[in-house]
Protein backbone atom coordinates (compact mmCIF):
# COMPACT_ATOMS: atom_id res chain seq x y z
CA UNK A 1 0.00 0.00 0.00
CA UNK A 2 1.41 3.34 -0.97
CA UNK A 3 -0.02 5.37 1.87
CA UNK A 4 1.91 5.28 5.10
CA UNK A 5 0.19 3.53 7.95
CA UNK A 6 -0.36 5.62 11.02
CA UNK A 7 2.37 5.15 13.57
CA UNK A 8 -0.06 4.51 16.39
CA UNK A 9 -1.79 1.74 14.47
CA UNK A 10 1.54 0.18 13.66
CA UNK A 11 2.55 0.10 17.31
CA UNK A 12 -0.80 -1.23 18.48
CA UNK A 13 -0.66 -4.10 16.02
CA UNK A 14 2.97 -4.74 16.73
CA UNK A 15 2.41 -5.10 20.44
CA UNK A 16 -0.63 -7.31 19.92
CA UNK A 17 1.16 -9.50 17.41
CA UNK A 18 4.28 -9.92 19.50
CA UNK A 19 2.25 -10.78 22.60
CA UNK A 20 0.19 -13.42 20.86
CA UNK A 21 3.18 -14.82 19.01
CA UNK A 22 5.11 -15.04 22.23
CA UNK A 23 2.27 -16.94 23.88
CA UNK A 24 2.18 -19.43 21.06
CA UNK A 25 5.91 -19.85 20.93
CA UNK A 26 6.23 -20.05 24.68
CA UNK A 27 6.14 -23.83 25.10
CA UNK A 28 9.02 -24.20 22.68
CA UNK A 29 10.96 -21.40 24.28
CA UNK A 30 10.36 -22.85 27.71
CA UNK A 31 11.60 -26.22 26.58
CA UNK A 32 14.79 -24.81 25.16
CA UNK A 33 15.42 -22.78 28.29
CA UNK A 34 14.72 -25.69 30.61
CA UNK A 35 17.16 -27.87 28.72
CA UNK A 36 19.93 -25.74 30.09
CA UNK A 37 18.84 -25.98 33.70
CA UNK A 38 19.75 -28.45 36.38
CA UNK A 39 16.96 -30.84 37.37
CA UNK A 40 16.45 -28.96 40.56
CA UNK A 41 16.04 -25.71 38.76
CA UNK A 42 13.79 -27.30 36.21
CA UNK A 43 11.24 -28.31 38.80
CA UNK A 44 11.48 -25.13 40.80
CA UNK A 45 8.43 -23.16 41.81
CA UNK A 46 8.20 -20.30 41.08
CA UNK A 47 9.72 -21.16 37.68
CA UNK A 48 13.05 -19.64 36.87
CA UNK A 49 13.23 -17.75 33.60
CA UNK A 50 16.71 -16.63 32.87
CA UNK A 51 18.52 -16.41 36.12
CA UNK A 52 19.75 -19.87 36.80
CA UNK A 53 22.99 -21.72 36.37
CA UNK A 54 23.17 -22.51 32.69
CA UNK A 55 24.58 -25.96 32.07
CA UNK A 56 25.10 -28.31 29.19
CA UNK A 57 25.09 -31.43 31.33
CA UNK A 58 21.64 -32.56 30.25
CA UNK A 59 22.67 -32.82 26.66
CA UNK A 60 25.59 -34.95 27.63
CA UNK A 61 23.53 -37.29 29.78
CA UNK A 62 20.82 -37.70 27.17
CA UNK A 63 23.31 -38.64 24.51
CA UNK A 64 25.10 -41.02 26.85
CA UNK A 65 22.09 -42.70 28.28
CA UNK A 66 19.94 -43.03 25.26
CA UNK A 67 22.29 -42.41 22.37
CA UNK A 68 20.56 -39.51 20.65
CA UNK A 69 22.79 -39.78 17.63
CA UNK A 70 21.66 -43.24 16.74
CA UNK A 71 18.06 -42.13 16.68
CA UNK A 72 18.89 -38.95 14.83
CA UNK A 73 20.85 -40.93 12.27
CA UNK A 74 17.85 -43.16 11.77
CA UNK A 75 15.62 -40.16 11.30
CA UNK A 76 17.98 -38.80 8.69
CA UNK A 77 18.25 -42.12 6.86
CA UNK A 78 14.50 -42.64 6.86
CA UNK A 79 13.77 -39.11 5.73
CA UNK A 80 16.34 -39.00 2.94
CA UNK A 81 15.81 -42.61 1.89
CA UNK A 82 12.07 -42.35 1.54
CA UNK A 83 12.44 -39.06 -0.31
CA UNK A 84 14.94 -40.48 -2.75
CA UNK A 85 12.87 -43.50 -3.68
CA UNK A 86 9.71 -41.47 -3.84
CA UNK A 87 11.31 -39.05 -6.29
CA UNK A 88 12.37 -41.86 -8.59
CA UNK A 89 8.76 -42.83 -9.15
CA UNK A 90 7.23 -39.42 -8.66
CA UNK A 91 9.20 -37.39 -11.19
CA UNK A 92 8.15 -39.48 -14.20
CA UNK A 93 4.59 -39.60 -12.89
CA UNK A 94 4.35 -35.87 -12.44
CA UNK A 95 5.97 -35.37 -15.83
CA UNK A 96 3.49 -37.68 -17.51
CA UNK A 97 0.52 -36.04 -15.84
CA UNK A 98 1.65 -32.49 -16.38
CA UNK A 99 2.64 -32.74 -20.01
CA UNK A 100 0.59 -35.54 -21.46
CA UNK A 101 -2.68 -35.06 -19.65
CA UNK A 102 -5.49 -37.36 -20.54
CA UNK A 103 -9.16 -37.29 -19.69
CA UNK A 104 -8.39 -39.26 -16.59
CA UNK A 105 -5.51 -37.21 -15.23
CA UNK A 106 -7.52 -35.02 -12.90
CA UNK A 107 -9.37 -38.07 -11.59
CA UNK A 108 -6.08 -39.85 -11.07
CA UNK A 109 -4.74 -36.99 -9.00
CA UNK A 110 -7.86 -36.88 -6.86
CA UNK A 111 -7.61 -40.61 -6.31
CA UNK A 112 -4.03 -40.23 -5.14
CA UNK A 113 -5.19 -37.59 -2.72
CA UNK A 114 -7.82 -39.96 -1.42
CA UNK A 115 -5.26 -42.67 -0.65
CA UNK A 116 -3.84 -40.27 1.85
CA UNK A 117 -7.26 -40.01 3.45
CA UNK A 118 -7.25 -43.62 4.45
CA UNK A 119 -6.83 -43.86 8.19
CA UNK A 120 -3.51 -45.50 9.00
CA UNK A 121 -5.30 -47.67 11.52
CA UNK A 122 -7.04 -49.39 8.67
CA UNK A 123 -3.74 -50.56 7.30
CA UNK A 124 -1.84 -51.02 10.55
CA UNK A 125 -2.71 -54.62 11.32
CA UNK A 126 -1.92 -56.12 7.94
CA UNK A 127 1.24 -54.11 7.49
CA UNK A 128 2.35 -55.04 10.98
CA UNK A 129 1.73 -58.72 10.32
CA UNK A 130 3.36 -58.65 6.90
CA UNK A 131 6.35 -56.93 8.38
CA UNK A 132 6.49 -59.43 11.20
CA UNK A 133 6.26 -62.45 8.95
CA UNK A 134 8.83 -61.13 6.50
CA UNK A 135 11.24 -59.95 9.12
CA UNK A 136 10.77 -56.32 8.22
CA UNK A 137 9.90 -55.12 11.69
CA UNK A 138 12.38 -52.69 13.09
CA UNK A 139 14.30 -52.47 9.81
CA UNK A 140 15.19 -49.25 8.08
CA UNK A 141 14.31 -50.66 4.67
CA UNK A 142 10.81 -51.56 5.71
CA UNK A 143 10.17 -48.19 7.20
CA UNK A 144 11.60 -46.38 4.19
CA UNK A 145 9.08 -48.23 2.03
CA UNK A 146 6.20 -47.25 4.31
CA UNK A 147 7.21 -43.61 4.56
CA UNK A 148 7.70 -43.45 0.83
CA UNK A 149 4.21 -44.72 0.09
CA UNK A 150 2.73 -42.52 2.78
CA UNK A 151 3.99 -39.32 1.27
CA UNK A 152 3.99 -40.29 -2.40
CA UNK A 153 0.66 -38.55 -3.10
CA UNK A 154 1.90 -35.29 -1.67
CA UNK A 155 5.18 -35.50 -3.55
CA UNK A 156 3.50 -36.24 -6.86
CA UNK A 157 0.99 -33.44 -6.36
CA UNK A 158 3.68 -30.98 -5.50
CA UNK A 159 5.89 -31.89 -8.43
CA UNK A 160 2.82 -31.78 -10.65
CA UNK A 161 2.06 -28.20 -9.68
CA UNK A 162 5.65 -27.16 -10.23
CA UNK A 163 5.83 -28.91 -13.59
CA UNK A 164 2.59 -27.31 -14.66
CA UNK A 165 4.21 -23.96 -14.24
CA UNK A 166 6.81 -24.77 -16.81
CA UNK A 167 5.43 -23.43 -20.08
CA UNK A 168 4.70 -26.36 -22.36
CA UNK A 169 5.95 -24.27 -25.25
CA UNK A 170 9.50 -24.46 -23.98
CA UNK A 171 9.38 -28.23 -24.07
CA UNK A 172 7.80 -28.09 -27.50
CA UNK A 173 10.57 -25.80 -28.64
CA UNK A 174 13.10 -28.38 -27.54
CA UNK A 175 11.12 -31.00 -29.43
CA UNK A 176 11.31 -28.81 -32.55
CA UNK A 177 15.00 -28.33 -31.91
CA UNK A 178 15.43 -32.03 -32.33
CA UNK A 179 15.65 -33.22 -28.74
CA UNK A 180 14.55 -36.77 -28.01
CA UNK A 181 12.32 -37.32 -24.97
CA UNK A 182 15.24 -38.32 -22.81
CA UNK A 183 17.33 -35.30 -23.83
CA UNK A 184 14.35 -33.06 -23.26
CA UNK A 185 14.03 -34.33 -19.69
CA UNK A 186 17.73 -33.98 -18.96
CA UNK A 187 18.64 -30.73 -20.68
CA UNK A 188 15.47 -28.72 -20.36
CA UNK A 189 12.95 -30.02 -17.85
CA UNK A 190 15.14 -30.98 -14.92
CA UNK A 191 17.24 -27.78 -14.83
CA UNK A 192 14.07 -25.73 -14.93
CA UNK A 193 12.40 -27.83 -12.26
CA UNK A 194 15.27 -27.91 -9.79
CA UNK A 195 13.77 -25.30 -7.44
CA UNK A 196 10.53 -27.29 -7.42
CA UNK A 197 12.30 -30.57 -6.80
CA UNK A 198 14.35 -29.02 -4.00
CA UNK A 199 11.21 -27.69 -2.37
CA UNK A 200 9.58 -31.07 -2.59
CA UNK A 201 12.57 -32.75 -1.00
CA UNK A 202 12.48 -30.23 1.82
CA UNK A 203 8.82 -30.81 2.49
CA UNK A 204 9.13 -34.55 2.45
CA UNK A 205 12.08 -34.55 4.82
CA UNK A 206 10.00 -32.59 7.31
CA UNK A 207 6.99 -34.87 6.97
CA UNK A 208 9.06 -38.04 7.29
CA UNK A 209 10.99 -36.70 10.25
CA UNK A 210 7.85 -35.95 12.23
CA UNK A 211 5.97 -39.10 11.35
CA UNK A 212 5.02 -40.76 14.60
CA UNK A 213 2.30 -43.29 14.00
CA UNK A 214 4.10 -45.73 11.73
CA UNK A 215 7.47 -45.29 13.33
CA UNK A 216 6.11 -45.99 16.77
CA UNK A 217 4.20 -49.01 15.56
CA UNK A 218 6.86 -50.64 13.45
CA UNK A 219 10.16 -50.01 15.20
CA UNK A 220 11.60 -50.84 18.57
CA UNK A 221 15.30 -50.14 18.70
CA UNK A 222 17.34 -50.79 15.57
CA UNK A 223 15.54 -48.61 13.12
CA UNK A 224 13.89 -46.38 15.67
CA UNK A 225 13.96 -42.71 14.75
CA UNK A 226 13.48 -39.70 16.96
CA UNK A 227 9.74 -40.01 17.70
CA UNK A 228 10.53 -43.34 19.35
CA UNK A 229 13.41 -41.73 21.22
CA UNK A 230 11.08 -39.19 22.72
CA UNK A 231 8.31 -41.65 23.46
CA UNK A 232 10.73 -43.60 25.60
CA UNK A 233 10.98 -40.58 27.84
CA UNK A 234 7.34 -40.56 28.66
CA UNK A 235 7.57 -43.05 31.49
CA UNK A 236 8.03 -40.96 34.56
CA UNK A 237 11.26 -41.65 36.37
CA UNK A 238 11.28 -38.95 38.91
CA UNK A 239 12.89 -35.64 38.22
CA UNK A 240 13.88 -35.69 34.62
CA UNK A 241 12.43 -32.57 33.07
CA UNK A 242 15.66 -30.90 32.23
CA UNK A 243 16.77 -34.01 30.43
CA UNK A 244 13.38 -34.28 28.73
CA UNK A 245 13.77 -30.73 27.57
CA UNK A 246 17.23 -31.43 26.27
CA UNK A 247 15.99 -34.52 24.46
CA UNK A 248 13.07 -32.64 23.02
CA UNK A 249 15.17 -29.74 21.88
CA UNK A 250 17.55 -32.11 20.17
CA UNK A 251 14.66 -33.84 18.48
CA UNK A 252 12.93 -30.80 17.11
CA UNK A 253 15.78 -28.40 16.44
CA UNK A 254 16.71 -29.62 12.95
CA UNK A 255 13.15 -29.47 11.74
CA UNK A 256 12.50 -26.07 13.22
CA UNK A 257 15.38 -24.74 11.19
CA UNK A 258 14.40 -26.60 8.02
CA UNK A 259 10.79 -25.62 8.46
CA UNK A 260 11.68 -21.97 8.63
CA UNK A 261 13.27 -22.24 5.21
CA UNK A 262 10.55 -24.41 3.82
CA UNK A 263 7.49 -22.30 4.59
CA UNK A 264 6.59 -21.57 0.99
CA UNK A 265 7.07 -25.17 -0.01
CA UNK A 266 4.96 -26.31 2.88
CA UNK A 267 2.07 -24.14 1.83
CA UNK A 268 2.18 -25.37 -1.71
CA UNK A 269 2.75 -29.00 -0.79
CA UNK A 270 0.19 -29.36 1.92
CA UNK A 271 -2.53 -27.55 0.05
CA UNK A 272 -1.87 -29.69 -3.00
CA UNK A 273 -0.98 -26.63 -4.94
CA UNK A 274 -4.25 -24.85 -4.35
CA UNK A 275 -2.51 -22.08 -2.50
CA UNK A 276 0.82 -20.79 -3.67
Amino acid sequence: MARAVSSRRKWAFTILAWTLAFLIFFPILWTILTSFKTEGDAAAIPPKFLFFDWTFENYGVVQERSNYFKFAMNSVILALGSTFFALIIAIPSAWGMAFSPGKRTKDLLMWMLSTKMMPPVGALIPIYLIFRDFGLLDTRGGLIAVLMLLNLPIIIWMLYTYFKEIPAEILEASRMDGASVWKELVYVLTPMAIPGIASTILLNVILAWNEAFWTLALTTKDAAPLPQFIASYSSPEGLFWAKLSAASTMAIAPILVLGWFAQKQLVRGLTFGAVK
Partner: protein, 302 residues
Protein backbone atom coordinates in the same frame (compact mmCIF):
# COMPACT_ATOMS: atom_id res chain seq x y z
CA UNK B 1 1.36 -31.23 -26.89
CA UNK B 2 -0.90 -34.05 -27.91
CA UNK B 3 0.53 -36.74 -30.07
CA UNK B 4 0.02 -40.45 -29.82
CA UNK B 5 3.68 -40.87 -28.95
CA UNK B 6 3.64 -38.43 -26.08
CA UNK B 7 0.43 -39.84 -24.68
CA UNK B 8 1.75 -43.39 -24.56
CA UNK B 9 4.96 -42.26 -22.96
CA UNK B 10 2.97 -40.31 -20.45
CA UNK B 11 1.01 -43.36 -19.47
CA UNK B 12 4.11 -45.46 -19.03
CA UNK B 13 5.65 -42.76 -16.89
CA UNK B 14 2.69 -42.62 -14.57
CA UNK B 15 2.27 -46.36 -14.23
CA UNK B 16 4.79 -47.14 -11.44
CA UNK B 17 3.31 -44.70 -8.97
CA UNK B 18 -0.23 -45.79 -9.72
CA UNK B 19 0.70 -49.43 -9.20
CA UNK B 20 2.57 -48.66 -5.98
CA UNK B 21 -0.24 -46.61 -4.48
CA UNK B 22 -2.84 -49.10 -5.62
CA UNK B 23 -1.03 -51.93 -3.86
CA UNK B 24 -0.49 -49.77 -0.80
CA UNK B 25 -4.18 -49.12 -0.64
CA UNK B 26 -5.68 -52.39 -1.74
CA UNK B 27 -3.47 -54.99 -0.09
CA UNK B 28 -3.79 -53.76 3.50
CA UNK B 29 -7.45 -52.95 3.01
CA UNK B 30 -8.23 -56.37 1.61
CA UNK B 31 -6.30 -58.07 4.36
CA UNK B 32 -7.96 -55.98 7.04
CA UNK B 33 -11.37 -56.89 5.71
CA UNK B 34 -10.34 -60.54 5.66
CA UNK B 35 -9.01 -60.44 9.21
CA UNK B 36 -12.11 -58.70 10.43
CA UNK B 37 -14.03 -61.75 9.46
CA UNK B 38 -11.78 -64.09 11.40
CA UNK B 39 -11.55 -65.03 14.98
CA UNK B 40 -7.89 -64.21 15.16
CA UNK B 41 -6.07 -63.50 18.37
CA UNK B 42 -2.31 -63.41 18.63
CA UNK B 43 -2.43 -65.07 22.02
CA UNK B 44 -4.78 -67.73 20.81
CA UNK B 45 -3.56 -71.25 21.54
CA UNK B 46 -4.52 -71.95 17.96
CA UNK B 47 -2.00 -69.83 16.11
CA UNK B 48 -3.04 -71.25 12.77
CA UNK B 49 -5.87 -68.88 12.41
CA UNK B 50 -4.01 -66.80 9.91
CA UNK B 51 -4.11 -66.23 6.26
CA UNK B 52 -0.95 -68.19 5.83
CA UNK B 53 -2.59 -71.49 6.52
CA UNK B 54 -6.00 -71.26 4.97
CA UNK B 55 -6.58 -74.97 5.35
CA UNK B 56 -7.21 -74.45 9.03
CA UNK B 57 -9.84 -71.90 8.39
CA UNK B 58 -12.63 -74.26 7.83
CA UNK B 59 -11.57 -76.73 10.43
CA UNK B 60 -14.60 -77.24 12.68
CA UNK B 61 -12.56 -77.48 15.83
CA UNK B 62 -10.84 -74.18 15.28
CA UNK B 63 -13.79 -72.20 14.08
CA UNK B 64 -11.63 -69.43 12.74
CA UNK B 65 -14.21 -67.79 10.59
CA UNK B 66 -16.04 -65.41 12.82
CA UNK B 67 -18.25 -63.77 10.26
CA UNK B 68 -19.56 -60.49 11.51
CA UNK B 69 -19.11 -61.15 15.21
CA UNK B 70 -16.06 -58.94 15.36
CA UNK B 71 -18.03 -56.03 14.00
CA UNK B 72 -20.82 -56.74 16.39
CA UNK B 73 -18.56 -56.75 19.39
CA UNK B 74 -16.67 -53.69 18.28
CA UNK B 75 -19.70 -51.60 17.50
CA UNK B 76 -21.57 -52.55 20.65
CA UNK B 77 -18.52 -51.96 22.80
CA UNK B 78 -19.39 -48.88 24.87
CA UNK B 79 -15.87 -47.73 24.24
CA UNK B 80 -16.66 -47.52 20.53
CA UNK B 81 -19.33 -44.90 20.83
CA UNK B 82 -17.10 -42.88 23.12
CA UNK B 83 -14.16 -43.24 20.79
CA UNK B 84 -16.16 -42.13 17.80
CA UNK B 85 -17.54 -39.09 19.55
CA UNK B 86 -14.05 -38.26 20.71
CA UNK B 87 -12.76 -38.56 17.17
CA UNK B 88 -15.38 -36.14 15.91
CA UNK B 89 -14.93 -33.90 18.90
CA UNK B 90 -11.21 -33.56 18.36
CA UNK B 91 -11.63 -32.90 14.67
CA UNK B 92 -14.41 -30.38 15.17
CA UNK B 93 -12.81 -28.41 17.98
CA UNK B 94 -9.41 -28.21 16.41
CA UNK B 95 -10.90 -27.20 13.06
CA UNK B 96 -12.84 -24.43 14.73
CA UNK B 97 -9.92 -23.14 16.74
CA UNK B 98 -7.43 -23.33 13.91
CA UNK B 99 -9.63 -21.82 11.21
CA UNK B 100 -11.01 -18.96 13.27
CA UNK B 101 -7.76 -18.37 15.09
CA UNK B 102 -5.79 -18.84 11.91
CA UNK B 103 -7.83 -16.27 10.05
CA UNK B 104 -7.45 -13.74 12.84
CA UNK B 105 -3.75 -14.36 13.13
CA UNK B 106 -3.30 -14.15 9.40
CA UNK B 107 -5.09 -10.82 9.31
CA UNK B 108 -2.92 -9.59 12.13
CA UNK B 109 0.31 -10.73 10.56
CA UNK B 110 -0.67 -9.16 7.26
CA UNK B 111 -0.50 -5.73 8.86
CA UNK B 112 2.56 -3.57 8.99
CA UNK B 113 4.35 -4.83 12.04
CA UNK B 114 7.85 -4.26 13.20
CA UNK B 115 9.85 -7.48 13.15
CA UNK B 116 7.21 -9.24 11.09
CA UNK B 117 9.48 -12.08 10.07
CA UNK B 118 10.35 -13.02 13.63
CA UNK B 119 6.73 -12.92 14.65
CA UNK B 120 5.92 -15.21 11.75
CA UNK B 121 8.60 -17.66 12.80
CA UNK B 122 7.29 -17.76 16.36
CA UNK B 123 3.72 -18.33 15.29
CA UNK B 124 4.54 -21.04 12.78
CA UNK B 125 7.07 -23.00 14.82
CA UNK B 126 4.68 -25.29 16.72
CA UNK B 127 3.63 -26.98 13.51
CA UNK B 128 7.11 -28.38 13.07
CA UNK B 129 7.30 -29.87 16.52
CA UNK B 130 6.93 -33.63 16.59
CA UNK B 131 3.57 -34.67 18.01
CA UNK B 132 5.29 -36.81 20.63
CA UNK B 133 7.42 -33.92 21.83
CA UNK B 134 4.46 -31.57 21.83
CA UNK B 135 2.49 -34.01 23.94
CA UNK B 136 5.29 -34.53 26.44
CA UNK B 137 6.13 -30.88 26.81
CA UNK B 138 2.54 -29.84 27.37
CA UNK B 139 1.79 -32.69 29.70
CA UNK B 140 4.81 -32.41 31.91
CA UNK B 141 6.13 -28.95 31.78
CA UNK B 142 3.09 -26.89 31.32
CA UNK B 143 0.09 -28.70 32.57
CA UNK B 144 1.49 -30.73 35.41
CA UNK B 145 -0.61 -29.68 38.42
CA UNK B 146 2.30 -29.53 40.80
CA UNK B 147 5.22 -28.05 38.96
CA UNK B 148 3.82 -27.14 35.60
CA UNK B 149 4.13 -23.63 34.32
CA UNK B 150 0.44 -23.07 33.74
CA UNK B 151 -0.36 -24.29 37.24
CA UNK B 152 2.08 -21.76 38.60
CA UNK B 153 0.23 -19.01 36.81
CA UNK B 154 -3.22 -20.15 37.87
CA UNK B 155 -2.07 -20.62 41.45
CA UNK B 156 -0.54 -17.17 41.52
CA UNK B 157 -3.83 -15.78 40.32
CA UNK B 158 -5.51 -17.58 43.17
CA UNK B 159 -7.37 -20.04 40.98
CA UNK B 160 -5.73 -23.19 42.26
CA UNK B 161 -4.15 -25.81 40.08
CA UNK B 162 -6.01 -27.72 37.41
CA UNK B 163 -5.12 -31.33 36.94
CA UNK B 164 -5.82 -31.29 33.26
CA UNK B 165 -5.17 -34.86 32.41
CA UNK B 166 -7.15 -36.30 35.25
CA UNK B 167 -10.18 -34.04 35.06
CA UNK B 168 -10.21 -32.66 31.56
CA UNK B 169 -8.29 -35.08 29.37
CA UNK B 170 -10.26 -34.31 26.23
CA UNK B 171 -9.71 -30.60 26.60
CA UNK B 172 -6.02 -31.19 27.21
CA UNK B 173 -5.67 -33.27 24.07
CA UNK B 174 -7.58 -30.69 22.03
CA UNK B 175 -5.30 -27.95 23.33
CA UNK B 176 -2.18 -29.86 22.37
CA UNK B 177 -3.43 -30.73 18.91
CA UNK B 178 -4.83 -27.26 18.27
CA UNK B 179 -1.51 -25.74 19.34
CA UNK B 180 0.15 -27.62 16.52
CA UNK B 181 -2.40 -26.97 13.81
CA UNK B 182 -3.23 -23.33 14.43
CA UNK B 183 0.13 -22.37 12.94
CA UNK B 184 -0.60 -24.46 9.86
CA UNK B 185 -3.87 -22.66 9.23
CA UNK B 186 -2.21 -19.32 9.93
CA UNK B 187 0.57 -20.04 7.47
CA UNK B 188 -1.76 -21.10 4.69
CA UNK B 189 -4.19 -18.23 5.20
CA UNK B 190 -1.43 -15.68 5.54
CA UNK B 191 0.08 -16.81 2.26
CA UNK B 192 -3.32 -16.56 0.63
CA UNK B 193 -3.90 -13.10 2.08
CA UNK B 194 -0.61 -11.89 0.76
CA UNK B 195 -1.65 -12.88 -2.73
CA UNK B 196 -4.63 -10.57 -2.51
CA UNK B 197 -4.60 -8.22 -5.42
CA UNK B 198 -3.17 -4.85 -4.44
CA UNK B 199 -5.32 -3.14 -7.03
CA UNK B 200 -8.49 -4.47 -5.47
CA UNK B 201 -7.44 -2.99 -2.14
CA UNK B 202 -6.84 0.37 -3.80
CA UNK B 203 -10.18 0.25 -5.62
CA UNK B 204 -11.90 -0.35 -2.31
CA UNK B 205 -10.02 2.57 -0.82
CA UNK B 206 -11.25 4.83 -3.62
CA UNK B 207 -14.78 3.61 -2.96
CA UNK B 208 -14.39 4.46 0.70
CA UNK B 209 -15.20 0.95 1.90
CA UNK B 210 -15.27 0.60 5.69
CA UNK B 211 -12.87 -2.06 7.01
CA UNK B 212 -15.52 -4.49 8.26
CA UNK B 213 -17.36 -4.51 4.94
CA UNK B 214 -14.07 -4.84 3.16
CA UNK B 215 -13.32 -7.91 5.23
CA UNK B 216 -16.72 -9.48 4.79
CA UNK B 217 -17.25 -8.83 1.09
CA UNK B 218 -13.76 -8.95 -0.29
CA UNK B 219 -11.32 -10.77 1.94
CA UNK B 220 -13.52 -13.59 3.15
CA UNK B 221 -14.54 -14.73 -0.35
CA UNK B 222 -10.89 -14.59 -1.37
CA UNK B 223 -10.07 -16.80 1.59
CA UNK B 224 -12.88 -19.22 0.85
CA UNK B 225 -10.72 -21.54 -1.19
CA UNK B 226 -7.71 -21.61 1.15
CA UNK B 227 -10.01 -22.19 4.11
CA UNK B 228 -11.58 -25.04 2.21
CA UNK B 229 -8.20 -26.59 1.62
CA UNK B 230 -7.17 -26.09 5.23
CA UNK B 231 -10.33 -27.80 6.45
CA UNK B 232 -9.82 -30.68 4.06
CA UNK B 233 -6.18 -31.26 4.88
CA UNK B 234 -6.64 -30.86 8.61
CA UNK B 235 -9.55 -33.27 8.67
CA UNK B 236 -7.44 -35.90 6.97
CA UNK B 237 -4.79 -35.61 9.62
CA UNK B 238 -7.02 -34.92 12.62
CA UNK B 239 -9.14 -38.03 12.16
CA UNK B 240 -5.95 -39.98 12.72
CA UNK B 241 -4.52 -38.22 15.76
CA UNK B 242 -2.65 -40.84 17.70
CA UNK B 243 0.67 -39.80 19.17
CA UNK B 244 -0.74 -37.14 21.45
CA UNK B 245 -3.21 -39.56 23.02
CA UNK B 246 -0.73 -42.41 23.23
CA UNK B 247 2.04 -40.41 24.79
CA UNK B 248 -0.10 -38.64 27.36
CA UNK B 249 -1.76 -41.83 28.43
CA UNK B 250 -5.24 -40.38 28.04
CA UNK B 251 -6.45 -43.26 25.93
CA UNK B 252 -8.93 -44.29 28.54
CA UNK B 253 -10.97 -41.09 28.59
CA UNK B 254 -9.96 -39.22 25.49
CA UNK B 255 -9.18 -42.11 23.21
CA UNK B 256 -10.38 -41.74 19.67
CA UNK B 257 -11.06 -44.34 17.02
CA UNK B 258 -7.43 -45.00 16.01
CA UNK B 259 -6.51 -45.41 19.63
CA UNK B 260 -9.31 -47.86 20.21
CA UNK B 261 -8.12 -49.95 17.29
CA UNK B 262 -4.65 -49.87 18.75
CA UNK B 263 -6.05 -51.05 22.06
CA UNK B 264 -7.82 -53.95 20.44
CA UNK B 265 -4.90 -54.93 18.33
CA UNK B 266 -1.65 -54.29 20.07
CA UNK B 267 -2.86 -54.36 23.64
CA UNK B 268 -5.49 -57.06 23.64
CA UNK B 269 -3.93 -58.83 20.67
CA UNK B 270 -7.34 -59.26 19.16
CA UNK B 271 -6.47 -58.97 15.50
CA UNK B 272 -9.96 -59.78 14.37
CA UNK B 273 -11.52 -57.10 16.50
CA UNK B 274 -8.90 -54.54 15.64
CA UNK B 275 -9.39 -55.18 11.97
CA UNK B 276 -13.10 -54.71 12.29
CA UNK B 277 -12.38 -51.47 14.09
CA UNK B 278 -10.03 -50.42 11.36
CA UNK B 279 -12.67 -50.95 8.71
CA UNK B 280 -15.15 -48.96 10.77
CA UNK B 281 -12.60 -46.14 10.93
CA UNK B 282 -12.13 -46.29 7.18
CA UNK B 283 -15.88 -46.13 6.62
CA UNK B 284 -16.18 -43.19 8.97
CA UNK B 285 -13.33 -41.39 7.23
CA UNK B 286 -14.96 -41.94 3.86
CA UNK B 287 -18.29 -40.63 5.09
CA UNK B 288 -16.66 -37.53 6.48
CA UNK B 289 -14.63 -37.07 3.31
CA UNK B 290 -17.73 -37.51 1.18
CA UNK B 291 -19.65 -34.82 3.00
CA UNK B 292 -16.65 -32.56 3.07
CA UNK B 293 -16.09 -32.91 -0.65
CA UNK B 294 -19.75 -32.27 -1.32
CA UNK B 295 -19.89 -29.19 0.85
CA UNK B 296 -16.71 -27.59 -0.26
CA UNK B 297 -15.74 -29.49 -3.36
CA UNK B 298 -16.87 -26.68 -5.58
CA UNK B 299 -14.39 -24.40 -3.91
CA UNK B 300 -11.50 -26.56 -4.92
CA UNK B 301 -9.83 -26.31 -8.26
CA UNK B 302 -9.56 -30.04 -8.16
Amino acid sequence: MATQQSRTLGRIAVAPSVIALFLWMIVPLAMTIWFSLLRYNLLDPNPFCSILSPAQLFDEANRCLAGTTNYYYFLTDPAFFKAMTNSLLIVGSVLLISVVGGTLFALLLDQAIIGRNIVRLMVIAPFFVMPTVAALVWQNMLMDPIIGFISWITKSLGMGAVDWFTHYPKTAVVIIVAWQWLPFATLILLTALQSFDEEQKEAAQMDGTPPLSFFWYMILPHLARPITVVVLIETIFLLNVFAEIYVTGTGGRAGNLPYLVYQYGLLANDIGGASAGGIVAVVLANIVAFFLMRMIGKNLEG
